[in-house]
Amino acid sequence: MVYLRANSIGLHYPVPADTPAPTATATIATRIGGRISGADGAHRFVTALDDVSFALNAGDRLGLIGPNGAGKTTLLKILYGIYEPTSGTLERHGRVDALFNVNLGFRREATGRRNIELRGLINGWSRREIEQRAIEIIDFSELGEFIDMPLKSYSQGMAARLAFAMATNFEPEILLMDEWIGAGDSSFQDKAKARMDEVVKHAGIIVLASHNDALIKRVCNKVLLLEKGGVKRFCDADEYFSREKP
Protein backbone atom coordinates (compact mmCIF):
# COMPACT_ATOMS: atom_id res chain seq x y z
CA MET A 1 0.00 0.00 0.00
CA VAL A 2 1.50 3.31 -1.09
CA TYR A 3 0.99 6.30 1.19
CA LEU A 4 2.54 9.59 2.17
CA ARG A 5 1.64 11.24 5.47
CA ALA A 6 2.94 14.50 6.83
CA ASN A 7 2.14 15.17 10.45
CA SER A 8 2.73 18.75 11.52
CA ILE A 9 6.01 19.08 9.62
CA GLY A 10 8.14 22.14 10.31
CA LEU A 11 11.51 23.26 9.09
CA HIS A 12 13.62 26.06 10.52
CA TYR A 13 17.17 26.85 9.59
CA PRO A 14 19.58 29.54 10.73
CA VAL A 15 20.32 32.57 8.59
CA PRO A 16 24.08 32.67 7.85
CA ALA A 17 25.71 34.97 10.41
CA ASP A 18 27.21 37.30 7.81
CA THR A 19 23.84 38.05 6.14
CA PRO A 20 23.20 41.79 6.38
CA ALA A 21 20.35 42.96 8.62
CA PRO A 22 17.12 43.84 6.80
CA THR A 23 16.81 47.41 5.56
CA ALA A 24 13.74 49.56 6.32
CA THR A 25 12.21 49.05 2.86
CA ALA A 26 12.64 45.28 3.16
CA THR A 27 10.43 45.02 6.22
CA ILE A 28 7.18 45.81 4.39
CA ALA A 29 4.78 42.86 4.66
CA THR A 30 4.75 40.57 1.64
CA ARG A 31 3.39 37.19 0.59
CA ILE A 32 6.75 36.17 -0.82
CA GLY A 33 9.20 33.89 0.96
CA GLY A 34 9.17 32.17 4.34
CA ARG A 35 9.29 33.93 7.69
CA ILE A 36 12.52 35.33 9.08
CA SER A 37 12.46 35.73 12.83
CA GLY A 38 14.70 36.02 15.86
CA ALA A 39 17.08 38.75 16.97
CA ASP A 40 19.53 40.35 14.56
CA GLY A 41 22.84 38.78 13.67
CA ALA A 42 23.63 35.16 14.30
CA HIS A 43 20.30 34.30 15.95
CA ARG A 44 17.95 34.94 13.06
CA PHE A 45 16.34 31.94 11.47
CA VAL A 46 14.08 31.17 8.55
CA THR A 47 10.85 29.29 9.12
CA ALA A 48 10.57 27.62 5.74
CA LEU A 49 7.68 25.36 6.76
CA ASP A 50 5.44 25.38 9.80
CA ASP A 51 2.88 22.83 10.92
CA VAL A 52 2.26 21.23 7.53
CA SER A 53 -0.03 18.22 7.63
CA PHE A 54 -1.68 16.16 4.91
CA ALA A 55 -2.26 12.54 3.98
CA LEU A 56 -2.08 11.06 0.49
CA ASN A 57 -3.05 7.57 -0.56
CA ALA A 58 -2.56 5.49 -3.71
CA GLY A 59 -3.90 7.30 -6.76
CA ASP A 60 -3.71 10.79 -5.28
CA ARG A 61 -2.17 13.59 -7.33
CA LEU A 62 -1.38 16.58 -5.16
CA GLY A 63 -0.80 20.01 -6.65
CA LEU A 64 1.47 22.23 -4.54
CA ILE A 65 0.72 25.86 -5.17
CA GLY A 66 1.62 29.16 -3.60
CA PRO A 67 3.69 32.28 -4.26
CA ASN A 68 7.45 32.21 -4.81
CA GLY A 69 9.26 31.07 -1.70
CA ALA A 70 6.10 29.71 -0.04
CA GLY A 71 7.90 26.44 0.71
CA LYS A 72 6.86 24.24 -2.22
CA THR A 73 10.34 23.04 -3.17
CA THR A 74 11.33 22.78 0.49
CA LEU A 75 8.35 20.50 1.11
CA LEU A 76 9.24 18.37 -1.93
CA LYS A 77 12.80 18.03 -0.62
CA ILE A 78 11.50 16.91 2.76
CA LEU A 79 9.21 14.37 1.09
CA TYR A 80 12.18 13.06 -0.90
CA GLY A 81 14.49 12.91 2.13
CA ILE A 82 17.05 15.60 1.26
CA TYR A 83 15.92 17.72 4.20
CA GLU A 84 14.98 16.29 7.54
CA PRO A 85 12.12 18.17 9.20
CA THR A 86 13.03 20.02 12.40
CA SER A 87 9.63 19.16 13.86
CA GLY A 88 6.82 16.72 13.10
CA THR A 89 6.98 13.35 11.36
CA LEU A 90 6.83 12.08 7.82
CA GLU A 91 5.55 8.58 7.05
CA ARG A 92 6.28 7.31 3.59
CA HIS A 93 5.72 3.96 1.98
CA GLY A 94 6.60 3.39 -1.67
CA ARG A 95 9.49 3.72 -4.10
CA VAL A 96 10.23 7.43 -4.51
CA ASP A 97 11.81 9.39 -7.27
CA ALA A 98 12.01 13.11 -7.72
CA LEU A 99 12.46 15.61 -10.50
CA PHE A 100 13.95 18.86 -9.32
CA ASN A 101 15.83 21.53 -11.16
CA VAL A 102 17.94 19.73 -13.79
CA ASN A 103 21.07 21.36 -12.43
CA LEU A 104 20.73 19.29 -9.28
CA GLY A 105 22.13 15.79 -9.31
CA PHE A 106 23.49 15.90 -12.83
CA ARG A 107 26.98 16.32 -14.23
CA ARG A 108 26.96 19.07 -16.80
CA GLU A 109 30.28 18.03 -18.35
CA ALA A 110 29.18 14.43 -18.88
CA THR A 111 27.08 13.23 -21.82
CA GLY A 112 23.38 12.46 -21.52
CA ARG A 113 24.16 8.77 -21.76
CA ARG A 114 26.76 8.96 -19.00
CA ASN A 115 24.29 10.85 -16.82
CA ILE A 116 21.80 8.01 -17.28
CA GLU A 117 24.49 5.55 -16.14
CA LEU A 118 25.34 7.68 -13.12
CA ARG A 119 21.68 8.09 -12.17
CA GLY A 120 21.30 4.33 -12.50
CA LEU A 121 24.22 3.80 -10.12
CA ILE A 122 22.72 6.35 -7.70
CA ASN A 123 19.47 4.38 -7.79
CA GLY A 124 21.35 1.13 -7.27
CA TRP A 125 20.59 -0.48 -10.62
CA SER A 126 22.77 -3.29 -11.92
CA ARG A 127 24.91 -2.86 -15.04
CA ARG A 128 22.50 -4.90 -17.12
CA GLU A 129 19.51 -3.01 -15.84
CA ILE A 130 21.21 0.30 -16.67
CA GLU A 131 21.95 -0.80 -20.24
CA GLN A 132 18.40 -1.95 -20.78
CA ARG A 133 16.78 1.09 -19.22
CA ALA A 134 19.13 3.48 -21.03
CA ILE A 135 17.63 2.32 -24.33
CA GLU A 136 14.10 3.05 -23.09
CA ILE A 137 15.09 6.40 -21.61
CA ILE A 138 16.85 7.57 -24.78
CA ASP A 139 13.87 6.42 -26.82
CA PHE A 140 11.35 8.25 -24.63
CA SER A 141 13.40 11.46 -24.47
CA GLU A 142 13.76 11.55 -28.30
CA LEU A 143 17.18 13.14 -27.91
CA GLY A 144 18.71 11.05 -30.70
CA GLU A 145 22.38 11.78 -31.33
CA PHE A 146 22.41 14.45 -28.65
CA ILE A 147 22.43 11.73 -26.01
CA ASP A 148 26.19 11.46 -26.64
CA MET A 149 26.75 15.20 -26.26
CA PRO A 150 27.62 16.79 -22.90
CA LEU A 151 24.63 17.92 -20.86
CA LYS A 152 25.89 21.51 -20.87
CA SER A 153 25.12 21.68 -24.61
CA TYR A 154 21.42 20.89 -24.01
CA SER A 155 18.64 23.44 -24.03
CA GLN A 156 16.44 23.63 -20.92
CA GLY A 157 13.74 21.67 -22.70
CA MET A 158 16.12 18.93 -23.80
CA ALA A 159 17.46 18.59 -20.27
CA ALA A 160 13.90 18.45 -18.94
CA ARG A 161 13.08 15.67 -21.42
CA LEU A 162 16.05 13.63 -20.23
CA ALA A 163 15.35 14.27 -16.55
CA PHE A 164 11.70 13.34 -16.89
CA ALA A 165 12.46 10.19 -18.89
CA MET A 166 14.98 9.11 -16.27
CA ALA A 167 12.80 9.76 -13.24
CA THR A 168 9.74 8.02 -14.61
CA ASN A 169 11.48 5.06 -16.23
CA PHE A 170 12.31 3.87 -12.78
CA GLU A 171 8.57 3.24 -12.22
CA PRO A 172 8.30 5.23 -9.04
CA GLU A 173 5.35 4.66 -6.77
CA ILE A 174 5.73 8.18 -5.45
CA LEU A 175 6.80 10.80 -7.97
CA LEU A 176 7.79 14.27 -6.79
CA MET A 177 8.05 16.99 -9.41
CA ASP A 178 9.07 20.62 -9.30
CA GLU A 179 8.11 22.95 -12.14
CA TRP A 180 9.65 20.69 -14.71
CA ILE A 181 7.07 20.89 -17.45
CA GLY A 182 7.34 24.51 -18.54
CA ALA A 183 10.52 23.74 -20.43
CA GLY A 184 9.21 20.91 -22.60
CA ASP A 185 7.42 21.56 -25.90
CA SER A 186 3.75 20.65 -26.33
CA SER A 187 4.33 17.25 -27.94
CA PHE A 188 6.53 16.30 -25.02
CA GLN A 189 4.04 17.62 -22.50
CA ASP A 190 1.39 15.31 -23.94
CA LYS A 191 3.79 12.41 -23.72
CA ALA A 192 4.70 13.36 -20.17
CA LYS A 193 1.03 13.57 -19.20
CA ALA A 194 0.46 10.05 -20.54
CA ARG A 195 3.44 8.80 -18.57
CA MET A 196 2.16 10.44 -15.40
CA ASP A 197 -1.24 8.85 -15.92
CA GLU A 198 0.56 5.53 -16.07
CA VAL A 199 2.26 6.19 -12.73
CA VAL A 200 -1.11 6.99 -11.16
CA LYS A 201 -2.75 3.97 -12.78
CA HIS A 202 -0.21 1.76 -11.02
CA ALA A 203 -1.67 3.05 -7.78
CA GLY A 204 1.01 5.67 -7.28
CA ILE A 205 1.15 9.13 -5.78
CA ILE A 206 2.22 12.28 -7.58
CA VAL A 207 3.15 15.54 -5.91
CA LEU A 208 3.57 18.36 -8.40
CA ALA A 209 4.68 21.89 -7.53
CA SER A 210 3.72 24.45 -10.14
CA HIS A 211 2.47 27.96 -10.83
CA ASN A 212 0.59 26.67 -13.84
CA ASP A 213 -3.07 26.37 -12.77
CA ALA A 214 -4.11 24.68 -16.03
CA LEU A 215 -1.51 21.98 -15.47
CA ILE A 216 -2.54 21.44 -11.83
CA LYS A 217 -6.19 21.30 -12.89
CA ARG A 218 -5.39 18.72 -15.56
CA VAL A 219 -3.18 16.46 -13.45
CA CYS A 220 -4.18 16.81 -9.81
CA ASN A 221 -7.15 15.74 -7.72
CA LYS A 222 -5.98 17.53 -4.56
CA VAL A 223 -4.46 20.91 -3.92
CA LEU A 224 -2.25 22.20 -1.12
CA LEU A 225 -1.92 25.96 -1.02
CA LEU A 226 1.17 27.11 0.86
CA GLU A 227 1.84 30.64 1.99
CA LYS A 228 4.81 31.77 4.07
CA GLY A 229 5.55 28.16 4.93
CA GLY A 230 2.11 27.36 6.31
CA VAL A 231 -0.86 25.50 4.87
CA LYS A 232 -3.42 28.02 3.65
CA ARG A 233 -5.74 25.38 2.19
CA PHE A 234 -5.77 21.65 1.59
CA CYS A 235 -8.75 20.43 -0.40
CA ASP A 236 -9.98 18.68 -3.55
CA ALA A 237 -8.80 20.29 -6.77
CA ASP A 238 -12.40 20.69 -8.06
CA GLU A 239 -13.42 22.50 -4.93
CA TYR A 240 -10.37 24.73 -5.01
CA PHE A 241 -10.73 25.79 -8.60
CA SER A 242 -14.52 26.25 -8.48
CA ARG A 243 -14.22 28.57 -5.50
CA GLU A 244 -10.97 30.29 -6.41
CA LYS A 245 -11.71 30.99 -10.07
CA PRO A 246 -15.43 30.91 -10.83
Partner: protein, 284 residues
Protein backbone atom coordinates in the same frame (compact mmCIF):
# COMPACT_ATOMS: atom_id res chain seq x y z
CA UNK B 1 9.14 -5.20 -11.62
CA UNK B 2 12.60 -4.64 -10.26
CA UNK B 3 14.28 -4.50 -6.93
CA UNK B 4 15.92 -1.20 -7.74
CA UNK B 5 15.35 1.58 -5.30
CA UNK B 6 16.13 5.26 -5.39
CA UNK B 7 15.46 5.93 -1.78
CA UNK B 8 14.37 3.84 1.13
CA UNK B 9 11.19 2.02 0.18
CA UNK B 10 9.47 2.73 3.42
CA UNK B 11 10.41 5.15 6.10
CA UNK B 12 9.24 7.16 9.02
CA UNK B 13 11.25 10.31 9.41
CA UNK B 14 10.95 12.01 12.76
CA UNK B 15 12.56 15.29 13.54
CA UNK B 16 15.85 14.84 15.46
CA UNK B 17 14.35 16.11 18.70
CA UNK B 18 11.88 13.25 18.85
CA UNK B 19 14.46 10.47 18.91
CA UNK B 20 14.64 8.30 22.01
CA UNK B 21 18.34 7.44 21.67
CA UNK B 22 20.93 9.61 23.44
CA UNK B 23 22.80 12.00 21.18
CA UNK B 24 26.15 10.17 20.85
CA UNK B 25 24.44 6.84 20.23
CA UNK B 26 22.15 8.41 17.67
CA UNK B 27 25.15 9.99 15.92
CA UNK B 28 26.93 6.67 15.86
CA UNK B 29 23.93 4.98 14.28
CA UNK B 30 23.51 7.72 11.68
CA UNK B 31 27.22 7.52 10.80
CA UNK B 32 27.34 3.73 10.61
CA UNK B 33 24.24 3.65 8.37
CA UNK B 34 25.75 6.31 6.14
CA UNK B 35 29.07 4.48 5.83
CA UNK B 36 27.42 1.12 5.24
CA UNK B 37 25.26 2.50 2.48
CA UNK B 38 28.20 4.43 1.05
CA UNK B 39 30.29 1.28 0.80
CA UNK B 40 27.44 -0.47 -0.97
CA UNK B 41 27.55 2.29 -3.58
CA UNK B 42 31.16 1.51 -4.56
CA UNK B 43 30.36 1.33 -8.30
CA UNK B 44 28.93 4.85 -8.07
CA UNK B 45 31.84 6.57 -6.36
CA UNK B 46 34.31 4.78 -8.60
CA UNK B 47 32.36 6.02 -11.62
CA UNK B 48 32.22 9.56 -10.22
CA UNK B 49 35.97 9.49 -9.52
CA UNK B 50 36.81 8.35 -13.04
CA UNK B 51 34.43 11.00 -14.37
CA UNK B 52 36.30 13.69 -12.49
CA UNK B 53 39.68 12.43 -13.63
CA UNK B 54 38.40 12.37 -17.21
CA UNK B 55 37.07 15.92 -16.79
CA UNK B 56 40.40 17.28 -15.72
CA UNK B 57 42.10 15.78 -18.77
CA UNK B 58 39.34 16.21 -21.33
CA UNK B 59 40.70 16.93 -24.84
CA UNK B 60 44.31 16.62 -23.74
CA UNK B 61 46.67 14.36 -25.70
CA UNK B 62 48.49 12.74 -22.79
CA UNK B 63 45.54 12.60 -20.41
CA UNK B 64 46.34 11.25 -16.95
CA UNK B 65 49.87 10.50 -18.11
CA UNK B 66 50.53 14.13 -17.20
CA UNK B 67 50.38 12.98 -13.60
CA UNK B 68 53.20 10.52 -14.25
CA UNK B 69 55.36 13.03 -16.17
CA UNK B 70 54.75 15.78 -13.62
CA UNK B 71 56.05 13.57 -10.87
CA UNK B 72 59.17 12.45 -12.75
CA UNK B 73 60.05 16.01 -13.73
CA UNK B 74 59.44 17.20 -10.16
CA UNK B 75 61.72 14.53 -8.66
CA UNK B 76 64.33 15.00 -11.39
CA UNK B 77 64.50 18.76 -10.90
CA UNK B 78 64.85 18.51 -7.12
CA UNK B 79 67.49 15.79 -7.37
CA UNK B 80 69.46 17.81 -9.92
CA UNK B 81 69.43 21.20 -8.22
CA UNK B 82 68.95 20.67 -4.51
CA UNK B 83 70.64 17.45 -3.47
CA UNK B 84 74.31 16.57 -3.48
CA UNK B 85 75.50 15.92 -7.02
CA UNK B 86 74.97 12.40 -8.39
CA UNK B 87 73.55 11.11 -5.13
CA UNK B 88 71.29 8.22 -6.03
CA UNK B 89 70.27 7.77 -2.42
CA UNK B 90 69.02 11.33 -2.24
CA UNK B 91 67.07 10.92 -5.48
CA UNK B 92 65.29 7.88 -4.08
CA UNK B 93 64.72 9.72 -0.77
CA UNK B 94 63.08 12.61 -2.60
CA UNK B 95 61.11 10.32 -4.92
CA UNK B 96 59.52 8.43 -2.01
CA UNK B 97 58.97 11.48 0.15
CA UNK B 98 57.36 13.38 -2.67
CA UNK B 99 55.14 10.44 -3.60
CA UNK B 100 53.60 10.29 -0.13
CA UNK B 101 53.56 14.06 0.25
CA UNK B 102 51.72 14.70 -3.02
CA UNK B 103 49.10 12.14 -2.03
CA UNK B 104 48.59 13.71 1.40
CA UNK B 105 48.63 17.23 -0.01
CA UNK B 106 45.98 16.42 -2.58
CA UNK B 107 43.73 14.81 0.02
CA UNK B 108 44.06 17.64 2.51
CA UNK B 109 43.62 20.49 0.04
CA UNK B 110 40.74 18.95 -1.91
CA UNK B 111 38.80 17.79 1.13
CA UNK B 112 38.42 21.25 2.68
CA UNK B 113 36.10 22.27 -0.16
CA UNK B 114 34.61 18.81 -0.87
CA UNK B 115 31.04 19.33 0.34
CA UNK B 116 30.93 22.83 -1.12
CA UNK B 117 31.88 21.47 -4.54
CA UNK B 118 29.31 18.67 -4.28
CA UNK B 119 26.45 21.04 -3.45
CA UNK B 120 24.51 20.12 -6.58
CA UNK B 121 24.42 16.43 -5.63
CA UNK B 122 23.93 16.98 -1.90
CA UNK B 123 21.02 19.30 -2.67
CA UNK B 124 19.45 17.09 -5.33
CA UNK B 125 19.88 13.48 -4.24
CA UNK B 126 19.64 11.43 -1.06
CA UNK B 127 23.09 9.85 -1.32
CA UNK B 128 25.06 9.14 1.85
CA UNK B 129 27.84 11.68 2.46
CA UNK B 130 30.38 8.85 2.55
CA UNK B 131 29.87 8.49 -1.21
CA UNK B 132 31.58 11.87 -1.74
CA UNK B 133 34.30 11.00 0.75
CA UNK B 134 35.02 7.68 -0.95
CA UNK B 135 34.94 9.35 -4.34
CA UNK B 136 37.72 11.70 -3.27
CA UNK B 137 39.66 8.79 -1.75
CA UNK B 138 39.39 6.84 -5.01
CA UNK B 139 40.30 9.94 -7.01
CA UNK B 140 43.49 10.76 -5.10
CA UNK B 141 44.50 7.10 -4.89
CA UNK B 142 44.15 6.75 -8.66
CA UNK B 143 46.11 9.92 -9.35
CA UNK B 144 48.82 8.80 -6.95
CA UNK B 145 49.00 5.47 -8.73
CA UNK B 146 50.52 7.30 -11.71
CA UNK B 147 53.14 8.86 -9.44
CA UNK B 148 53.65 5.45 -7.84
CA UNK B 149 54.46 4.02 -11.26
CA UNK B 150 57.09 6.76 -11.57
CA UNK B 151 58.49 5.95 -8.12
CA UNK B 152 58.73 2.23 -8.96
CA UNK B 153 60.55 3.15 -12.15
CA UNK B 154 63.05 5.29 -10.21
CA UNK B 155 63.47 2.58 -7.56
CA UNK B 156 64.27 -0.01 -10.23
CA UNK B 157 66.70 2.33 -11.95
CA UNK B 158 68.54 3.15 -8.74
CA UNK B 159 68.14 -0.29 -7.20
CA UNK B 160 67.02 -1.05 -3.66
CA UNK B 161 68.42 -3.53 -1.17
CA UNK B 162 65.91 -6.24 -0.28
CA UNK B 163 65.50 -6.43 3.50
CA UNK B 164 62.92 -7.92 5.85
CA UNK B 165 61.74 -4.42 6.74
CA UNK B 166 60.72 -3.86 3.12
CA UNK B 167 57.55 -5.88 3.62
CA UNK B 168 56.19 -3.21 6.01
CA UNK B 169 55.79 -0.86 3.05
CA UNK B 170 52.62 -2.78 2.16
CA UNK B 171 50.79 -2.09 5.47
CA UNK B 172 52.14 1.48 5.34
CA UNK B 173 50.50 2.10 1.98
CA UNK B 174 47.32 0.45 3.29
CA UNK B 175 47.32 2.76 6.31
CA UNK B 176 47.63 5.78 4.02
CA UNK B 177 44.62 4.54 2.04
CA UNK B 178 42.48 3.52 5.01
CA UNK B 179 43.24 6.75 6.86
CA UNK B 180 42.15 8.97 3.98
CA UNK B 181 38.34 8.83 4.44
CA UNK B 182 38.63 9.99 8.06
CA UNK B 183 40.84 12.95 7.20
CA UNK B 184 38.63 13.87 4.25
CA UNK B 185 35.47 13.76 6.38
CA UNK B 186 36.90 15.92 9.16
CA UNK B 187 38.35 18.51 6.77
CA UNK B 188 35.22 18.56 4.61
CA UNK B 189 33.02 19.38 7.62
CA UNK B 190 35.41 22.05 8.94
CA UNK B 191 35.49 23.51 5.42
CA UNK B 192 31.71 23.97 5.53
CA UNK B 193 31.67 25.46 9.05
CA UNK B 194 34.56 27.87 8.40
CA UNK B 195 34.79 29.03 4.83
CA UNK B 196 38.28 30.48 5.44
CA UNK B 197 39.52 26.99 6.16
CA UNK B 198 40.20 26.00 2.55
CA UNK B 199 42.45 29.02 2.11
CA UNK B 200 44.23 28.41 5.40
CA UNK B 201 44.81 24.80 4.37
CA UNK B 202 46.20 25.80 0.98
CA UNK B 203 48.55 28.25 2.63
CA UNK B 204 49.71 25.93 5.39
CA UNK B 205 50.31 23.05 2.98
CA UNK B 206 52.58 25.26 0.88
CA UNK B 207 54.63 26.02 3.97
CA UNK B 208 54.64 22.41 5.15
CA UNK B 209 56.21 21.39 1.87
CA UNK B 210 59.41 22.93 3.25
CA UNK B 211 58.88 22.12 6.91
CA UNK B 212 58.37 18.41 6.19
CA UNK B 213 61.53 16.42 5.48
CA UNK B 214 60.98 15.88 1.78
CA UNK B 215 63.90 17.76 0.31
CA UNK B 216 66.07 17.75 3.40
CA UNK B 217 67.45 14.99 5.61
CA UNK B 218 67.30 15.21 9.37
CA UNK B 219 70.83 14.75 10.67
CA UNK B 220 69.67 13.74 14.17
CA UNK B 221 70.34 17.11 15.75
CA UNK B 222 67.99 19.08 17.98
CA UNK B 223 67.10 22.72 17.65
CA UNK B 224 64.17 24.03 15.70
CA UNK B 225 64.75 21.66 12.78
CA UNK B 226 64.83 18.66 15.08
CA UNK B 227 61.70 19.85 16.84
CA UNK B 228 59.83 20.35 13.57
CA UNK B 229 61.02 16.98 12.35
CA UNK B 230 59.68 15.06 15.31
CA UNK B 231 56.50 17.03 15.98
CA UNK B 232 55.35 17.26 12.37
CA UNK B 233 52.87 14.38 11.90
CA UNK B 234 53.57 14.33 8.17
CA UNK B 235 57.16 13.29 8.89
CA UNK B 236 55.89 10.05 10.31
CA UNK B 237 53.52 9.30 7.45
CA UNK B 238 56.50 9.74 5.11
CA UNK B 239 58.77 7.63 7.30
CA UNK B 240 56.59 4.51 7.45
CA UNK B 241 56.95 4.23 3.68
CA UNK B 242 60.41 5.69 3.17
CA UNK B 243 62.54 4.40 6.05
CA UNK B 244 62.16 0.64 5.33
CA UNK B 245 63.17 1.22 1.70
CA UNK B 246 66.05 3.63 2.32
CA UNK B 247 67.42 2.34 5.63
CA UNK B 248 66.03 -1.16 5.79
CA UNK B 249 64.54 -0.60 9.27
CA UNK B 250 61.02 -0.26 10.64
CA UNK B 251 60.42 3.17 12.22
CA UNK B 252 58.58 2.13 15.38
CA UNK B 253 57.87 5.63 16.70
CA UNK B 254 56.47 6.69 13.32
CA UNK B 255 54.19 3.66 13.28
CA UNK B 256 52.86 4.44 16.75
CA UNK B 257 52.27 8.08 15.84
CA UNK B 258 50.55 7.36 12.51
CA UNK B 259 48.40 4.53 13.85
CA UNK B 260 47.20 6.58 16.83
CA UNK B 261 46.61 9.71 14.80
CA UNK B 262 44.73 7.86 12.07
CA UNK B 263 42.52 6.14 14.65
CA UNK B 264 41.82 9.39 16.46
CA UNK B 265 40.91 11.26 13.27
CA UNK B 266 38.70 8.40 12.08
CA UNK B 267 36.76 8.42 15.37
CA UNK B 268 36.30 12.20 15.09
CA UNK B 269 35.10 11.68 11.52
CA UNK B 270 32.44 9.16 12.58
CA UNK B 271 31.01 11.51 15.21
CA UNK B 272 31.11 14.57 12.95
CA UNK B 273 29.31 12.56 10.27
CA UNK B 274 26.66 11.43 12.73
CA UNK B 275 26.14 14.84 14.31
CA UNK B 276 26.05 16.95 11.16
CA UNK B 277 25.01 14.67 8.30
CA UNK B 278 21.45 15.95 8.26
CA UNK B 279 22.30 19.58 8.90
CA UNK B 280 25.01 19.90 6.25
CA UNK B 281 22.56 20.63 3.44
CA UNK B 282 21.44 23.83 5.22
CA UNK B 283 24.98 24.99 5.82
CA UNK B 284 26.17 24.83 2.21
Amino acid sequence: MSSAEAGPHSSIVRSGEASVLGAPLRWLKVAVDDIREGLRKAPLWMALASEEIADSHRRTVLGPLWQFLNYLVYVGTIALFIGPENSKDFTLYVALGLLVWLYIQEIVSLSASLFLREESYINGTVLPLSVYVMKLTALTATRSAYALAGAVLIAFYIGITPTKALITVVPAVLLLLVGAPGVITVFAFIGVFYRDFQFIVGHVMRLLLFVTPIFWVHGGGGGLRGFLYHWNPFTHYLNIVRTPIIEGTVPTVSWIVTLSLTTLISICAVFLLGAFKRRIVFLL
